[in-house]
Symmetry: C2
Subunit: 224 residues, 2 copies
C-alpha cells in the first residue's frame, strides 16, 4: 500500500484521473493482483482513491464539506437559498414511548412521535435523522409531510412556533450497515453525528433530534 501510495503521489495524477488497471499494477509492481487489490482497498478507505466496478480506480477529489452554521433558522432553507435541490424523505413515522428517546430526555411527554427522514441534496443522500416530538401536539405532522417539507418551516407556518436551538452534541461514528445502505457509503465510513434539543422561543423543550451525516459532505460551525 505504501509503495502504491508513493507511486500515486510521485506520478502527480490529478484528481479524477484513472489509475492503471489492477492487472497492470500487478505486473508493474511484480506482485499478485490480490495484493494490489488489498492496497487499493486500503487507499479507498483512506479516501485517496475511489474505485468503480467495471470502470477503474480514480484519484479522489478533495472532499468539499458544506458548512452548517448555527445562526441560520433553517438549514434546508439555507441550502435552497444557495441553489441546491434539497429533499427530506420521510422513511418512517412511529409513535414511541419516552424510553425510545436518547439521553438526556428533555421532552416530558410519555407518547412521542418519531420521524425518520433522509436528507438528499441534488439527488445524493447526505444524512439521516430521527426527530422526536410530542405526539399529542404534533401528531398530524406526519400526514402532511412531503419531500419538500422543512420541519422548522412547518412548525412555524402551521403552529406559529419559532424554534430555537438549546444544546448540540457532536461525535464521529462508523457507518452501520443501515447507515451504509441509506447514505451510499461503505460500512465503517466516518459519520458526523449531531444530537440536540430545540425549544420554542420561551425555552420550552419542543423536539429532540439525532442526525447522522456523511462525514465527507458537511460540517457544523457554532459561535460561542
Amino acid at each position: 500500500m505504501d509503495d502504491l501510495a508513493r507511486w500515486i503521489q510521485e506520478s502527480e495524477l490529478p484528481p479524477g484521473d484513472r489509475l492503471p488497471a489492477e492487472a497492470d499494477l500487478a505486473l508493474q509492481f511484480s506482485v499478485h493482483r490480490l495484493t494490489v487489490r488489498q492496497a487499493l482497498a486500503e487507499l479507498a478507505r483512506a479516501g485517496t482513491i475511489r474505485t468503480v466496478h467495471g470502470r477503474g480506480s480514480f484519484v479522489a477529489e478533495r472532499p468539499f464539506r458544506f458548512r452548517v452554521t448555527s445562526d441560520v433558522p433553517s438549514i434546508v432553507a439555507l441550502m435552497r437559498d444557495r441553489g441546491m435541490t434539497v429533499t427530506q424523505t420521510l422513511v418512517g413515522s412511529t409513535v414511541v414511548g419516552r424510553d425510545d428517546l436518547p439521553e438526556p430526555r428533555d421532552l416530558a411527554d410519555d407518547k412521542l412521535l418519531r420521524l425518520d427522514t433522509v436528507l438528499a441534496v441534488d439527488g445524493q443522500p447526505w444524512s439521516r435523522a430521527s426527530t422526536w416530538l410530542s405526539q399529542a401536539r404534533f401528531g398530524p405532522v406526519a400526514a402532511v409531510w412531503t419531500p419538500m417539507t422543512s420541519l422548522t418551516g412547518l412548525l412555524n407556518e402551521a403552529y406559529g412556533i419559532v424554534v430555537r436551538r438549546a444544546w448540540r452534541r457532536y461525535s464521529a461514528e462508523r457507518a452501520t450497515a443501515e447507515d451504509a445502505a441509506a447514505l451510499g457509503v461503505a460500512a465503517g465510513s466516518p459519520l458526523l453525528v449531531q444530537a440536540g434539543l430545540n425549544t420554542d422561543s420561551g425555552g420550552q423543550p419542543l423536539l429532540q433530534v439525532v442526525r447522522r451525516s456523511r462525514g465527507d459532505r458537511l460540517e457544523y460551525e457554532v459561535s460561542l
Copy 2:
C-alpha cells in the same frame, strides 16, 4: 459477512468473548479462510469485533465517549478532576508563516508559533492537536512545556490571560496514515475534528486550534 454477523448476533456472545479461530470458522461455514478473513475485516471496520494478531477476534465492547462540555474552562483540568491521568506531549514546535493557519485566519500576526501535541489519557492516545499562537508574544511557551502542561492553565498562570472560546467547527474525517500512527487506530477510522478560535476576555484573537480526536473516545457538547 452478513452470515457471520448474523451468527455472532444469534450466538449472543457477550462483549469481550473470543470468536472461533479463522480456520474453524472457515470449516463451519464451508468457505475458504480468506473469505472468512474478509468478512472479519469488514466487521472489524464496522466496529462489531476487534482482532488481535496472535490472539484472536473478540466481540467489541460498546464504545464509551468522554463528553467534553463547552462550559468548563480547561478540558485537561476537567479530566484530571475526574481522576484521569492526562498528558499532553509536545511532538513539534515550529515557527510558521500566516499561510500555515487554517481558514478563517483570525490571527493577525505574520509569524506564528505552532505547537503539535498528542493528548493521552491513562497512557492511551486520544487526540492530536495543532495550536497556533503569536510567536512574538508566546514564543517562550514551547521551552517550558511539560507533559503535564495545560495550555489554558499556562496562559493563565504565566500571562494572566483568561481564555474564552469564540467559535468551533466540527467535522468527521478519515484517519490519515499519520493520524493512525499517532492515535493507534487503523487508517480510515473516524476522527472527530474540532477547529476553533479562542480569544482573551476582551475578545481579542489569541489562538487557533485544530484537534483530531479518536471518534470512539470523545464527543463535544455545546450549549447555545
